[in-house]
C-alpha cells in the first residue's frame, strides 16, 4: 500500500511537503525554503496576531502602496 502513488500531482506535492523524504541541498529543499521564507516575510504580522512584530510586513506594505 503506497497511497501517494495514486494521488494527482498537486496533492502529491502537498503529500511530499509533509511526508518529507528529500535530502538537504536538493531543488525540492530549495523550493520548501523559498515557500517558508515567503510565508515569513510576506504575511502581514497582524494576520497572525504577532505579539512582538513591528511594521505591516512586505505584503501589508504593498497593499498600503497599491491602496493609495
Amino acid at each position: 500500500m503506497i497511497p501517494e502513488r495514486d494521488l494527482p500531482v498537486p496533492l502529491r506535492a502537498v503529500w511530499h511537503a509533509f511526508y518529507w523524504t528529500f535530502d538537504r541541498a536538493t531543488w525540492q529543499y530549495d523550493v520548501m525554503v523559498a515557500l517558508i521564507l515567503a510565508f515569513l516575510w510576506l504575511t502581514p504580522p497582524a494576520w497572525l496576531g504577532d505579539p512582538t512584530a513591528s511594521g505591516p510586513g512586505l505584503l501589508g506594505w504593498l497593499r498600503q502602496v497599491l491602496g493609495r
Binding site: Y19, W20, Y29, L37, D50
Partner: protein, 197 residues
C-alpha cells in the same frame, strides 16, 4: 549546485578556520558543546526580554559552537560514545531553553495563544528527536520529515533578526507535527515491509 547548497558552502569558509583554531588549541569537543549550551541560555534570556536582534546575534554565536563540536571531534580523533550522548542531550537542552524564553515573553505580554503555540512547538520539537531515536532502535534509519534541528535553529535566527518570530513559530509547529507523524508512519511502513529497511 542548489541555492541552499551554495549558502552552506559559503558559510563553511569561516567555520573551517574556527575548526582549525579549535584543533590547534586542543579544545575538547565536549567543552565546545557545553559552551554552546551556555551561550544558548543567554540567547533564551534575550528572547525572554524581547531583545530579538541581540538574541539572534547570541544564537549565531552559540550555533557556531554547536556546529563545530562534531567536526573538531573528528579532526582531533576524540569521537566517543559519551560525546555523542552528551551532544544529543545538550542539543535538547538548548532547544527547550529557547522555547522557554519565548514562553516567558508571551506570558509576560498576556498572550496565552502564543504561549500555547510556543509550548506545542517545543513539545513536537522534542518529539521529533525522540521519534527518530526510538525508531532507530528498531529499524536501521528514520530520517524523514523536514523540521530537524538545523532548520529549527535557522528559523529561530531568521525570526529573531527579521522580527517575525510568530510566523517562524507557526512554521516550526506545523512542520514539527508533520515530521513526528512522518516518522511514526515511516517506522510503521518499514516494520510492515513496505519500505526497504
Amino acid at each position: 549546485m542548489t541555492i541552499t547548497g551554495l549558502i552552506g558552502a559559503i558559510c563553511m569558509f569561516p567555520l573551517r578556520a574556527i575548526i582549525a583554531l579549535c584543533v590547534r588549541l586542543r579544545i575538547h569537543p565536549n567543552v565546545l558543546t557545553f559552551v554552546g549550551v551556555v551561550i544558548n541560555v543567554a540567547a533564551a534570556w534575550a528572547l525572554a526580554l524581547d531583545r530579538f536582534v541581540l538574541a539572534g546575534i547570541i544564537m549565531t554565536l552559540a550555533n557556531i559552537f554547536d556546529f563545530i563540536d562534531g567536526k573538531v571531534a573528528i579532526a582531533t580523533n576524540t569521537i566517543t560514545r559519551f560525546g555523542a550522548f552528551w551532544d544529543s542531550v545538550m542539543d535538547r537542552f538548548s532547544d527547550i531553553a529557547l522555547f522557554v524564553g519565548l514562553i516567558y515573553l508571551y506570558s509576560q505580554l498576556g498572550r496565552t495563544d502564543y504561549v500555547m503555540v510556543a509550548a506545542l512547538a517545543m513539545m513536537f520539537a522534542v518529539l521529533t528527536s525522540y521519534t527518530r531515536a526510538r525508531a532507530e532502535s528498531i529499524i536501521e534509519k528514520c530520517k524523514v520529515g523536514f523540521m530537524e534541528r538545523p532548520e529549527r535553529i535557522v528559523l529561530f535566527m531568521i525570526g529573531a533578526f527579521t522580527d517575525r518570530m510568530a510566523a517562524a513559530l507557526w512554521v516550526m509547529l506545523i512542520l514539527s507535527v508533520s515530521t513526528v507523524f512522518a516518522r511514526i508512519y515511516y517506522t510503521w511502513r518499514t516494520l510492515n515491509g513496505e519500505v526497504a529497511a
